[in-house]
């Protein structure tokens, strides 16, 4: 006899429900700690020690309570070996890391901050989001309360100030890495255009951005078939990075994008470069842009430290064809992150200790050696292994020195809370001109309007 259909349905339903609850309860069980084979033994030792000497500084209960620290980050921070070591020396700490894609990570963080719960004990924050987050310092632990003040001298000025609250009383992040800024150029294309190819000579070609554009005009006249740079927005941003003040009156919430002559000057120079046809009109990260690296479609690109790996990974065939010179003004920064501690954390003190460890100069040097993230701590930058570093892919360019100098030279710039969206509004304006949608004057007017709209 056939099994009645409803038996099957009910069985299936019960099975599903059972599995769901099994799954749900599996989730409650101990999460997997960061890879660390020695974890068990120290706990045992800890128990015995605590039992033997209750006055050893722990609470009255015999075994020390294991504290789980959650750390969320993105990309490649290179902290795994550091976790293992930290857990060894701090047996009551268990570290659980969650790595996500850049945008997902930050969206997630912002959602959790908006909801009031769910953020980790340590959250990595990238430069692109720091302006927004530090304008809400109440969402984060003030690291100065835990002694972060002593770290200030370690950091390049711009790095320390970028994560400081508007009134400079709250420090919400400890810097991890920086991007620095240099100019990567194609040696072979420069040679074709009869331009010097030695890095020192190339750096001398453009002490200012105006001279950079002039070089570009000369380059274009040589008709190599390549564009001078990839995208006009990089030219614009390179200039704006170096300003004393950009979109906001420092320390305030007043938007000055329309009144700041330096911004208009940066815009005008960018427009000149577009008019002269120096731009390849590409958009970063698009398929066209990636292919352009391989094909030599553009001759120069403002590159931060982390772009070296990108070029190597995506255009390995161009090894030896690139070199690195200083960027006009020899100062700049694109990218870089901090470790922050959301106010939601239940273990701010332990979290701070871990964050301080991870961002200590010694650890920054180790991370640099492992994964290439450029240190943000000055002592780390001066470490011989960093300062003396030469990148073979880039013709043995002295990347350690160049990026370090650009970061140290960079003057701190106040970034108000809507700095990101305002920057995007201007970038869209530049793109509109590049795409031929609008003329410069019209596009700038609209960009300014959009900037004020974003900041309202």
């Amino acid at each position: 006899m056939r099994v009645p259909r409803w038996h099957v349905a009910v069985a299936g339903w019960l099975l599903t429900v059972a599995v769901v609850f099994a799954g749900a309860s599996c989730a409650k069980s101990k999460p997997e700690p960061a890879p660390d084979k020695g974890a068990d033994k120290p706990v045992q030792a800890e128990k015995t020690v605590a039992g033997a000497d209750p006055a050893a500084g722990k609470t009255a209960a015999p075994p020390a309570e294991k504290i789980k620290l959650a750390i969320n980050d993105f990309g490649v921070f290179g902290y795994k070996p550091l976790y293992a070591e930290y857990q060894q020396s701090h047996p009551n700490i268990e570290i659980v890391e969650s790595v996500n894609e850049y945008n997902s990570h930050h969206t997630n963080l912002i959602n959790h901050l908006a909801a009031g719960s769910g953020a980790a004990d340590i959250e990595a924050v990238d430069e692109g989001f720091m302006a927004q987050l530090k304008s809400r310092p109440e969402q984060f632990v003030n690291l100065l309360d835990y002694g972060a003040g002593e770290r200030e001298k370690d950091y390049a000025a711009f790095k320390w100030q970028a994560s400081l609250s508007a009134d400079a009383k709250k420090q919400i992040g400890l810097g991890t890495d920086v991007g620095g800024l240099a100019m990567c150029y194609r040696v072979d294309v420069f040679a074709k255009a009869k331009l010097p190819t030695d890095p020192a000579a190339v750096s001398a070609l453009w002490p200012t951005w105006e001279k950079y554009v002039e070089t570009g005009i000369k380059f274009k006249a040589a008709k190599t078939g390549a564009a001078f740079f990839d995208s006009a927005t990089n030219l614009y941003n390179g200039q704006v990075f170096q300003l004393d003040k950009s979109y906001y009156e420092p320390g305030t919430n007043t938007v000055i994008v329309d009144k700041n002559p330096a911004i208009k000057a940066a815009w005008d120079l960018t427009m000149k470069a577009i008019d002269q046809g120096l731009s390849a009109k590409l958009v970063a990260w698009q398929p066209d842009w990636v292919t352009a690296f391989q094909k030599g479609t553009f001759a120069t690109i403002t590159c931060p430290a982390w772009m070296q790996g990108y070029i190597k990974e995506n255009a390995p065939g161009t090894a030896g064809k690139w070199n690195i010179a200083a960027v006009p003004g020899a100062a700049g920064n694109w990218g870089g992150s901090w470790l922050t501690i959301p106010a939601q954390s239940k273990h701010p003190k332990e979290a701070y200790e871990l964050a301080a460890f991870l961002t200590a100069p010694a650890q920054q040097v180790r991370v640099f050696k492992e994964v290439g993230n450029f240190p943000s701590a000055i002592p780390a930058m001066h470490d011989p292994s960093v300062e003396g570093f030469k990148n073979p892919f880039f013709n043995d360019a002295q990347t350690g020195k160049i990026f370090g100098e650009s970061a140290v030279n960079l003057k701190p710039q106040y970034q108000g809370e809507k700095h990101g969206p305002i920057r995007k509004a201007i970038e869209d304006g530049i793109t509109r001109v590049e795409q031929g949608r609008q003329k410069s004057a019209e596009s700038f007017a609209q960009a300014v309007k959009d900037a004020f709209r974003a900041a309202r």
């Binding site: 009031g116 927004q132 398929p287 809507k418 995007k424 509109r432 795409q435 709209r453």
Partner: protein, 331 residues
Amino acid sequence: MNSPADFAALSPSPLGPALRPRLPGIAKRALRWVDAAIAPYLYIAPFFLLFIGFGLFPILYTGYVSLTDRDLLRPGAETYIGLANFRELVGDDYFWNSVKNTFLLMVMCSVPQLVLALILAHLLTSIRRLRTLLRMGVLLPNVTSIVAVALVFGQIYSRDFGVVNWVLGVLGVDPIHWQAGDWTSRLAIASMVVWRWTGYNALIYLGAMQAIPKEQFEAAALDRAGTWRQLWHITLPALRPTIAFTALISLIGQMQLFSEPLLFDASPGSVSGGSARQFQTMTLFMYEEGFRLGHLGYGAAVAWIVLLLTFVVAAFAYAMTRRGMRAAGAV
């Protein structure tokens, strides 16, 4: 189920139909009354309970937030401002731009989608070979992950090295910068949406078509009516209610179009719908205001307006189809 006799054969009693115990008259009538009066509500209860539990709270919360000046990262610090957000919205050019884009895309996506789906369903019914493969194949776009979709379409519409521009080049047309133009970007996005959802609708039509008696098709074939005539005279009329249904569903979905415009934007993570907002839809605008700019109160107001507009549009469409179907004697 072919006849009451068949049905009786499925009666749950292991004793067989003849020996199935009968309930006393009164109890039976009572059961019947309970069944008629209460049971329907029990059937719809799970949906409504789950909705009240997990659907209603977000809606009410957003409604509350829309009446405040809530900043995304300052929970608890908002103040009540009444309908100020809505008033601002009415005068907001960028909002109306997003409405325009949404409606344009709606027409550009829904019409081809449904027409193609109908043709597909009709053709898929009529073939004998490769049946399962082709019928399952049209659902593959729904299985494809977002990552792959973004990657493939990004490459296809890439300005310098994309397939479409390469084909156009062969035909002597200059390369088009798809993301830059108004209509080119909308066209590209429409192609992504049509690609993704046509198979979905085709399957729904396929399911509905099995209710059409085969005799009609055989008669038509004997009358030497070709595929297209059969589609027009048999399938289309028979599927009218289903088509109205898919049109309504598609409309509602299109009002909320979000993923495709988001993926298509040249700058990664940009929610502005292009450098000049040429393809920013209402939900993208809502997301930009609420999440990127932190104006959660304003974004919440947009969400409610989207709901209202969708309702109006759906009601309008429904009224039109009712009229159309009544005219055709279908209802």
